[in-house]
Amino acid sequence: MKRRAVILGILVLFFVLFPWVIRSDYYQHLMILAFMWVVIGGAWNLLAGYTGQVSFGHAVFFGTGAYTAGLCVTKLGISAWWGMLFGGPAATLIGLFIGWVCFRLRGPYFALATIAAGEIFRLVAINWESLTEGMVGILIIQTFRAKWPYYYLAFFLAAASIFVFGRVMRSKWGFYFVSIREDQDAAESMGINTTLYKNVSLMISSFFTGLAGAFYMNYMAFIDPEVVFSLHYISIMAILVGIIGGVGTIWGPAVGAFVMVFLQETFRSAIFGLAPKWVSESHVLVFGLLVIFVILYLSNGIVGDWPKIQGLLGKGRKVRRLEERG
């Protein structure tokens, strides 16, 4: 317990000091994206990893949050920062509607329904031009020119989300979520209203994803439907963050977020300009291979299989030998 507190303290200190030491906008930008993905990955994990309702449609909530912030500017003439207040609730409302429709289905059928929901929202955002400006997108003026205000805000959101998810998972709700994941019939017969608590999980999940979307609008200052409602860039990325880091663990998505943002950037920039351009185009393939690798060898993700990784690195072996001796 004490060791954990020390590690946590060092981590916080590292992240707080980071922008003071690493002055590069580029690295601060990557950190901001990673923090944002910590929030989204954790939110996805709450629903998919802990509650067992695998969503391929989290772009719906991200996009809703982002557009809520954008519309604050274009339609209401107020600051996009209001989106940080309204984006979460807006995404939650959409989540309730999607839950009402999709939770009639179980397992893979639920997952398929969320893909459909994601595509519907993307197409609506493209075609409802009077509201969204369609493919033109929404462009706003950034509040800060420096990265550090965004950096600390993103860091706060990431830390807050981990704290909230951790608290939820130690509460009655968390126990109910995992029970539903493990066996819906058993959960019902234990007195758990499975439909209600699936929706509770979805509401929390969509709230945080919407919040991340609103942050994205404020930070990037530009959104269009093909980005924020993207199956590939948002929904699948959320899944990858969860799977790589470890589903059903609190720290898994946080680790997964940093790994995935780093990998994505490595490939996007074609290994920082060192490799030929086709490398950057092959990143989908590489992500696919990565998922296959993780499923085969680290099926619980980096955090879930940490003891196994330690074992491979030699540390675990030593521990085991000590145990054998007595």
Partner: protein, 239 residues
């Protein structure tokens, strides 16, 4: 008004009458045995009681209240717990977490759920296993976990579906002992069991069915000596 009452219940599975007009009443505090050959409809009766399946016709009343149209989780909250013949452990949770999850149905905080769960595990002799993953339990442990999880919801009526199946003689004695201790706590029990030794020794009254229909009801001796029951279990040649 009886404590628990099943009235002319029927269940039709696309032409197959799995339960065909069964009625019985259970008194508070008794152990009520439900017997019948394989496929006679016992598990289906449990699934009708906790509304896994809707009734085709008939009614089920608990303390005068009809359960018809209720949701399964509402019935658990009302005070009817059940175990599954095909056990359903929450596999990737520890034994303690399994029982805590159901304890949360009655209490609000982590600490309270934990203490209810620990007390229940103690009662069910599962303390040594509390930090094991449920999937790593052997069958006898899984059967007891089913009971522990049902007990943690503080039921007034407990439905036990073949909790003794697959146990060795020593485990069998422990299971019988556990069931009697549950009854002594004031929990009314309906027990489905294939093993005659168990059901005959602990039931106050027994209801026998075959092909979804009642064939006998009475004390264990009365039912054991009933001609139709003997025929149903041993075939006509023995009758």
């Amino acid at each position: 008004m009886s404590f628990f009452e099943v009235e002319e219940i029927r269940k039709n599975f696309g032409g197959l009458m799995a339960v065909d007009g069964v009625s019985f009443r259970v008194k508070q505090g008794e152990i009520f045995g439900l017997i019948g050959p394989n496929g006679s409809g016992k598990t289906t009766i449990f699934n009708l009681i906790n509304q896994f399946y809707p009734l085709t016709s008939g009614d089920i009343r608990f303390q005068g209240k009809s359960l018809k149209g209720m949701k399964t989780h509402q019935i658990a909250k009302l005070g009817i717990g059940r175990t599954f013949q095909v056990v359903k452990p929450l596999k990737r949770m520890t034994v303690l977490e399994n029982v805590m999850a159901s304890a949360f149905v009655r209490v609000g905080t982590f600490e309270d759920a934990r203490s209810v769960a620990l007390e229940t595990l103690e009662f069910c002799n599962l303390m040594d296993h509390r930090n094991k993953q449920a999937r790593s339990l052997p069958i006898a442990g899984r059967k007891r976990l089913e009971i522990a999880r049902a007990l943690a919801t503080r039921p007034q009526l407990l439905l036990l579906d073949e909790t003794a199946a697959g146990l060795n003689p020593k485990e069998l004695d422990e299971a019988i002992n556990l069931i009697l201790r549950i009854r002594d706590r004031g929990v009314t029990i309906i027990i489905v069991e294939h093993i005659m030794k168990v059901i005959m020794s602990i039931s106050d009254r027994i209801h026998a069915i075959n092909y979804g229909r009642t064939i006998a009801e009475g004390t264990p001796e009365e039912v054991a000596n009933n001609r139709e029951v003997i025929e149903a279990y041993l075939g006509e040649s023995y009758a």
